[in-house]
């Protein structure tokens, strides 16, 4: 489709125009990290961190979602929750975070359609930003993706030092950008070549590699392998890896009420917690940390590829970055690949 450029100094004007008509989520600086938040002015945005701590999944699949409201008691009633029709823009989403949605779609738009996710998915424009300088634990290339991939976004920006290349990827992206034509000029052949160079450098900057060949099949025969016990020994059982994961999507549902009003809420859950599989009978099918550590890997690299034909990992590296005991998913999968059965 069309390729445009925008001068770096014009970027803020453009984004501020977008903010007038849309709810814009963008990385905002916190204490030595960034997070996606709603921004009211371009000046709030901070692009100096590669990946916001909580991935962009939280915008479409909120950590806490009110499903419906009710008044408790025998004369109580249920009130449905209106789903907002507001237009969303996710600005500066990285390719790994954008890929999230193609992995989550089968879950939330498959057999049972989740109206909240669906509405937001339909209403959101993903404006991607190529990674010029990947992090130490980035490995999107292991999945055949690129830090400057056009695959999962509507519009892709690439910082070409002084200006941004703006690649229009989808019809929705094209329709969206039509309102802002005045900010852009056509991209030249040199601009596209510059992007290629930037992309090549970024790919070279990714030093870690996950070897995925045959892993899904092999996992089928490794259910009792010592590797799960080894990693479970050092796992402290927190939920950080699953909460910062762009593809983990398990949730819990709870009724939270006072005497007069209540709500059924859906909240992110984590398979790292024993409570996650704790039956009302008292039985727990995943009683040990080993079962839980194994499940996280199997869900992403065995069950998900089997059921949905796609690996449930985007290679963002957050679970490695944030793990306090160095449980390293790249190492685990590579060890699986090398294990002699």
């Amino acid at each position: 489709m069309e390729n445009l450029v925008i001068q770096t100094e014009k970027l803020s004007e453009w984004v501020n125009e977008i903010i007038k008509k849309n709810k814009v989520f963008a990385p905002v600086k916190e204490t030595d990290f960034s997070n996606f938040k709603i921004v009211n002015d371009y000046s709030e945005i901070d692009l100096s961190f590669l990946l916001p701590m909580v991935p962009a999944k939280k915008i479409l699949f909120k950590q806490t979602e009110t499903l419906f409201l009710f008044t408790p008691g025998s004369k109580g009633e249920v009130k449905s929750k209106e789903i907002s029709d507001e237009k969303l823009v996710i600005f500066s989403i990285r390719s790994c975070d954008a890929k999230t949605f193609s992995i989550l779609d089968p879950v939330f738009l498959g057999d049972y359609v989740d109206p909240f996710y669906k509405k937001r998915r339909e209403n959101s424009i993903l404006i991607g930003l190529s990674c010029n300088k990947p992090n130490v634990n980035c490995f999107c290339t292991s999945f055949g993706d690129s830090p400057a991939s056009r695959d999962y976004v509507d519009i892709l920006l690439t910082d070409l030092d002084g200006k941004y290349l703006v690649e229009i990827v989808t019809e929705r992206g094209k329709k969206f950008i039509d309102d802002y034509k005045k900010f852009f000029a056509s991209a030249s052949k040199e601009d596209l070549e510059s992007k290629e160079k930037v992309e090549k450098l970024a790919i070279e900057g990714i030093t870690r590699k996950m070897k995925l060949e045959g892993v899904s099949e092999k996992l089928g025969k490794m259910f009792e392998h010592p590797i799960w016990y080894e990693n479970a020994m050092k796992c402290i059982g927190c939920g950080t890896c699953t909460f910062v994961c762009p593809t983990c999507h398990c949730f819990d549902m709870q009724d939270e009420s006072t005497l007069r009003e209540g709500a059924r809420i859906r909240v992110w859950d984590s398979c790292m917690y024993p409570e996650y599989t704790h039956h009302a009978s008292g039985h727990n099918p995943r009683p040990a940390r080993m079962n839980r550590v194994r499940n996280r890997i199997y869900h992403k690299f065995s069950y998900y590829p089997t059921n949905e034909n796609i690996v449930g990992c985007t290679g963002c590296g957050r679970c490695i970055d944030y793990c306090s005991v160095n449980i390293d998913i790249i190492d685990i999968i590579n060890e699986v690949g090398e294990a002699k059965l």
Binding site: E30, T31, D32, F33, N35, M53, V54, Q63, T64, K133, N135, V136, N137, G205, T207, R208, E230, M233, K234, I236, G237, C238, G239, T240, T242, F243, V244, D252, Q254, E256, I265, V267, W268, S270, Y273, E275, P287, A288, R289, I320, Y322, S324, V325, N326, D328, I330, D331
Partner: protein, 328 residues
Amino acid sequence: MVDQKQLIKTAKEIVSREDVKYIVGYKQGTYGFVTSPAFAYTPEDVESFIYNPLCKKNLAVYPILEEKLPLKRGEEEDKRKIGLVVKGCDSRALVQIIQEKGLVREDLVIIGIPCKGVIDLKKIEKRFPNQTEVVDVEENDNSEYIIKIGDTVHTIPKEELLSEVCKSCEFPNPPLYDFLMGEEVEVREKEVYSGLRGLDETPIEERWAYWEKHFQNCIRCYACREACPLCYCKTCMADMLDPQWIRRSVNLSENTAWNIMRAFHLAGRCISCGECESVCPANIPLMELNKKLEKDVKEMFKYTAGLDTEEKTLFGTFNPDDPNEFIM
């Protein structure tokens, strides 16, 4: 510096004993400055053990995390001891847990390390971003860290990378150990914990805004709880459903409730290892809360946690002279 050879030799001897199940120490991590807990079951496993200023993790959490799964028919409980490598604060954690009868002294074999302070991983990663290759760090006699990255040697003043909690550490030597690696280190005149000023001196509105900003970033992953050796309640109040002390909704109100309750439940128990803060993905300055409570406990009850296994716990005792101004 701790003599790594001595550490490995001692650990090998311990793990060879018939009454020892395994020993937990540190090994090189998979990238950059990261170290990893290492579980050694045999003397060969011990070969991978390291000790350097990057070994921050409080390993005292592991005997607490030991899983006691239901035994199969005919199976007997493995009652062998667990070996542990501990620094001053880690050892204090063990003392505190033993005081509370959460662990039995005889179930542990403890290698104590006189500690000169450890590096804050977040600080060193900020200083040397994107470090893939494994890095070697040493401390010299001049209070500097010698960091070898590839062919380049960086010499950095210790203060710049040292964990904030270590700067105000009063107990660098383990109070409880079976084997001590090297001589006890000298306890220097300590500075007051930097984060305390915020809670003691800033006006209440500013203070509230500060904590609001931090608590709204909490994702309730409970890394602070799981990493803490003193957070070992069988059922945490945050997990209870009936009564539900804290709702599962992740919002400022519930996050505040969680973080405040966590801190209060550690009053008179926290041993200032700083583990909660260093594992927090949202960089919430949890040690500021812990240190404030530590200070109050010290001033009001003249009590310091984790020094003597025979001592009674703060909340297990009372004195008619205890201050009670805070009781309405």
